[in-house]
């Protein structure tokens, strides 16, 4: 406390903050971005290692040899699927029953808040079928899940086949200490959500489903399998779940370990790990992987069916079989062996996976960056806001003190009057604050509530109406509030905008700080774009430059640029028009994610970030 209570050192410190504010801010921004870029550099990111004792070295011997049977199941399933025009419930039930599983089905239905045009669904009806393999060695207190989404067309038939073959093999083994649930869910995430809600007997979304008849204890871990070809060249693992939540790193390690044991190629974000690390291309490669992870996590979308498990405290990953034009192909037996090994290891668990990290970034599958290492990058960015706020605060308290001191010799009342006049008071800040937040709330509520009105008056479909209303309100917000403070007269001073900016900066810092703890990537992406402009913006100086910059860093533009960057990174570049299409799609899906699964990104941006951005817009046009 010596530093804060000793007036001489305080004075030195405050002088430092005041005089060197801009250089310090620039330095801090450079440090933040530099730190983030350095995360992809292998010496910074240590190698992954297995923390969980029960899953130690790969000491199980896999004996799965039903590769051919898996393929025949897959063909049979495909035939029945075509015939039934959807999930062949009866056939699946019969087959699972014949394998010796306890079979249950769970019908569900859900009416979406507005039609989903990319997947072409509105009123969804479906059935989940699952079979429970009761563990011979323990009571049904714990379980593992192998889930396979049943999607339209020819997709994922092989996954169902492999699941059934695994089930028939697992049934014959005596070492299971946890029940294993084999689940085929229809309508991908919707079915998963319905199943999870019913399994845990909660109803957090407006999902309608029949109650669940069969349960198998607390689910310890889940693997979601997607496989669409008879042979695979590599496996891709998806970790990012709803709201950017990640599974325990040990589960990823487990997958990686078994892939290595069986000689399977495995990738993350579709990127294969390079063997060298000290060259520039290798660095660029791991940076690309890292950036892809940040973009995917920041979107808050579940990147696979596993994403919804995480909310229920269940560690889960999605494993995707990829068939590309490589020479070495692996057959079903190898794939099955890998899954068998993973399940046998998970079967050995004595407690929930908790030893390893929950907050991490993966620049490659064998290296990780933990929260302690990546948080400083974000901390440096937030430091800019704090420095700027301190600077403003000191300037404000200086103008507070000076007129009073100057006028003190005169009449006391006159001095007070002058002080009152020069101080617009906090009251002037109320209208901008209220209007900005009202705009935010409108942005959140109106699009879905007003879709029917919009479709009646304009020639658009419901989902177009929703997206266009969002964009319209968003853009209208720019025009509306920037002269709201004129409602109260006599506020045309520097104090007014400085106070408003101080408020906006602190508000932004708090929002970003809170969201970065829940979803680091979202926080970091918003901070990296918004913070520098937020710190720089002021009503004096090159106003139009500031306006352009401010528009460029608004969350919507960040989303647009994020999509563009994402398409570049997955080496599938798009033109501007396609990017715009993708952007419209992303907005619709962001809303749907919120209403269907409870993603927080849309409400967070609409209710908090956007009003805060509008406050900054107000600062810019303060008169």
């Amino acid at each position: 406390m010596g530093l804060l209570s000793d007036p001489y050192r305080r004075r030195a410190l405050s002088r430092l903050v005041l005089r060197l504010n801009t250089p310090l801010c620039l330095l801090s921004y450079a440090a933040g971005l530099g730190w983030f870029l350095a995360l992809a550099f292998p010496p910074v990111a240590p190698r992954t290692y297995m923390s969980e004792n029960a899953m130690g070295s790969t000491m199980v011997e896999e004996q799965f040899a039903y590769g051919e049977r898996a393929l025949s199941y897959a063909r049979e399933f495909a035939g029945h699927k075509k015939k039934a025009g959807g999930l062949p419930v009866a056939w699946l039930e019969k087959t699972m029953w014949n394998l010796g599983l306890e079979v249950y089905k769970q019908p569900f239905s859900r009416t979406l808040p507005f039609p989903d045009e990319t997947r072409e669904r509105y009123m969804v009806k479906g059935t989940n079928v699952y079979g429970i393999l009761r563990a011979p060695r323990a009571a049904s207190t714990e379980s593992l899940v192998l889930s396979v989404p049943c999607s339209e067309g020819q997709h994922n038939n092989q996954a169902v086949g492999l699941m059934l073959a695994l089930a028939s093999y697992f049934r014959g083994q005596i070492y299971w200490a946890k029940d294993i649930i084999f689940l085929v869910n229809e309508h991908d995430l919707l079915g998963m959500e319905a199943w999870l809600e019913a399994y845990h007997d909660v109803n957090i979304t407006e999902m309608q489903s029949s109650g669940m008849l069969g349960r198998a204890g607390a689910i310890q871990a889940a693997v979601s399998l997607e496989l669409s070809s008879d042979v695979v060249t590599s496996f891709d693992v998806a970790v990012e779940g709803l709201n950017g939540q990640l599974p325990n790193l040990d589960l990823v390690n487990l997958f990686h370990a078994f892939c290595q044991k069986n000689g399977l190629l495995c990738t993350i974000q579709g990127k294969l790990q390079r063997s060298d690390w000290d060259t520039l291309p290798a660095y660029a490669h791991s940076l690309q992987t890292l950036l892809l992870m940040v973009l995917k996590q920041g979107s808050g979308r579940p990147q696979g069916d596993h994403g919804l498990f995480l909310r229920y405290h269940i560690e889960a990953i999605t494993v995707r079989g990829i068939n590309s034009f490589r020479q070495y192909k692996y057959d079903m037996s190898t794939v099955g062996k890998t899954l068998e090994g993973m399940f046998r290891k998970l079967n050995n668990l004595l407690e929930r996976l908790h030893q390893s990290y929950f907050f991490y970034l993966l620049p490659s599958l064998s290296r990780f960056v933990s929260i302690g290492v990546y948080m400083p990058a974000f901390g440096f960015l937030i430091l800019i806001l704090v420095l700027k706020a301190l600077d403003l605060w000191m300037k404000l308290s200086k103008c507070d003190a000076s007129p009073v001191e100057r006028l003190w010799d005169g009449d006391q009342a006159a001095a007070h009057g002058a002080a009152e006049e020069s101080r617009p008071g906090l009251l002037t800040l109320v209208p901008p604050l209220l209007i900005c937040h009202a705009t935010g709330l409108t942005l959140y509520f109106l699009p879905v509530l007003g879709q029917h009105v919009a479709t009646q008056h304009f020639p658009v479909s419901e989902s177009e109406a929703v997206v266009l209303t969002v964009i319209a309100i968003y853009v209208a917000g720019l025009a509306l509030p920037h002269n709201t403070h004129r409602v109260l007269t006599g506020s045309g001073s520097d104090r007014g905008w400085m106070t408003l900016k101080l408020l906006a900066l602190l508000y932004l810092a708090m929002q970003l700080g809170c969201v970065a703890l829940v979803n680091f990537s979202l926080g970091f992406l918003l901070a990296a774009t918004m913070v520098p402009v937020a710190a720089a913006v002021q009503p004096t100086g090159p106003k139009y430059l500031y306006a352009v910059l401010l528009v460029l860093v608004t969350p919507a533009v960040t989303l647009l640029l994020g999509i563009f960057l994402y398409q570049e990174l997955i080496e599938y570049p798009v033109s501007v028009l396609e990017c715009w299409q993708l952007f419209l799609q992303a907005v619709a899906e962001g809303l749907l994610d919120h209403y269907l699964y409870g993603s927080i990104v849309f409400p967070f941006v609409a209710i908090f970030v956007y009003p805060c951005w509008l406050l900054l817009w107000n600062v810019l046009f303060w008169k």
Binding site: D6, P7, L310, A401, C514
Partner: protein, 426 residues
């Protein structure tokens, strides 16, 4: 005001998840659901303290025996009563302060150049209203009201105690102090400031040799002890057993419940080896009582400020602190608004407190619901929050002392060689 509170209440009810967080955080010692459990046991003819979760006093359980149907209303009314009591108390206190200031000016006790430190009736006019609003609209108060924390009732008792003291009624002050002590034990330490204030009001000098000082002290202490004994005996006759003494006060003192809250105790004692815990419980508990004596010596001329500091210390160092306790001492902050120019870190500290208050639910969610963070994350914020509170209180304390020094020695201090001097705290 009740309507406003009702509206805020309704709004808060929307945030169900958040409320569950509040309820979890302030669960220990202070939740009506716990009272319901006690009531059920009582109705079955079992001692309510035979279970492990009920730790309220017998009077509370009998109060809710009649009022449990109207629990929401009770909590809203108690909050409004607290605000009214604080309003009246501060109104009276301001008059006293102003009178004293006038007297000192007339006696020429102040340095000549401190005109800008003199407080004017104009700026003091709205302070009582501000205090009441600060209490009612404080998010912490709203939260503890929504969570139906019995801490609200303790706050009302303390507010009435303050009102009685400032009005100069020794008897009522002693009775309410006894009630507050009976409720949560820690207000015991408020005995010293109340006594000092009453002495000051009677113009009895605080001198250890003076006879009248001792006489009055004995009187007040006797009143206090008598009412305490009466209340405790009443509780005994209500339940016909002494079970409540270990179950209420033993629970407060020995800290057996380590459910996470916003205090400092739970994490330490969850981590600690069992055989050290007695020693450390003593060390932790001493904190509340330890500062009373030096503060009494230093602030004997300013008992109300002393009372504020002491309430804040209680709310920081008590074994099961709740957000309601914080609301009570924060309500006093407008009273010391004239210290504003002497506060050094108010900006940083208020930011720290607000950020911590926001991070509490976030980290709680990550720890309990998402399962990805752990208790260390949450405790780190608890620690920061409490350090922020301690710094805030010491900042106010230091500002108060500085103002007093300037009032007697003049605002523009000069060194002996004629240059401008500066007060340094070392």
């Amino acid at each position: 005001m009740v309507e406003v509170r009702k509206k805020t209440l309704n709004f808060s009810c929307l945030l169900c998840n958040f409320v569950s967080f509040i309820q979890m955080v302030i669960r220990c010692e202070t939740l009506t659901s716990v009272v319901v459990e006690g009531l059920a046991l009582l109705d079955l003819g079992v001692s309510p303290y035979s279970g492990a979760i009920f730790h309220e006093t017998p009077l509370i359980i009998y109060l809710f025996h009649f009022l449990i149907e109207y629990a929401e209303l009770v909590f809203m009314i108690t909050d409004v009563l607290t605000a009214i009591a604080l309003y009246l108390a501060i109104q009276d206190f301001n008059k006293v302060v102003f009178k004293k200031q006038k007297l000192l000016i007339e006696l020429d006790k102040y340095a000549p150049d401190v005109a800008e430190l003199i407080r004017t009736p104009m700026e003091m006019h709205y302070i009582p209203l501000k205090v009441a609003l600060f209490y009612l609209l404080n998010p912490y108060t709203v939260m503890s009201c929504v969570a139906k924390s019995t801490c609200t009732i303790n706050n009302t008792v303390i507010a009435f105690f303050i009102l009685a003291t400032i009005k100069g009624s020794a008897f009522l002050s002693a009775v309410f102090l006894a009630l507050a002590t009976y409720q949560s034990l820690y207000p015991l330490t408020l005995f010293a400031p109340a006594l000092l204030y009453l002495l000051q009001r009677q113009f009895i000098p605080v001198k250890l040799k003076s006879k009248s000082f001792w006489l009055y002290t004995m009187q007040y202490a006797a009143l206090y002890l008598c009412s305490l004994v009466v209340i405790i005996c009443l509780s005994f006759f209500l339940l016909n057993s002494w079970d409540f003494i270990p179950s209420v006060y033993g629970f407060i003192l020995s800290v057996p419940d380590l459910t996470p809250n916003i205090g400092l105790f739970w994490y330490f004692f969850a981590e600690m080896f069992e055989h050290f815990s007695l020693f450390f419980v003593c060390v932790f508990q001493i904190n509340v009582f330890f500062y009373t004596i030096p503060l009494a010596v230093k602030l004997k001329e300013h008992p109300v400020f002393f009372m504020f500091i002491q309430i804040a210390i209680i709310s920081i160092f008590k074994s099961y602190p709740t957000v309601g306790d914080i609301a009570l001492y924060m309500a006093f902050l407008p009273v010391w608004s004239h210290l504003y120019r002497f506060l050094r870190n108010i900006f940083i500290l208020s930011c720290v407190l607000i950020v911590c208050s926001l991070l509490f639910p976030v980290l709680w969610h990550l720890w309990i619901y998402a399962g990805s963070a752990n208790s260390n994350f949450y405790y780190a914020i608890t620690l920061t929050f409490n350090i922020g509170q301690i710094l805030l209180i010491s900042d106010y304390f230091y500002a108060f002392l500085r103002r007093e020094y300037y009032l007697t020695h003049g605002l523009y201090l000069t060194r002996q060689d004629g240059t401008e001097a500066m007060l340094v705290l070392k």
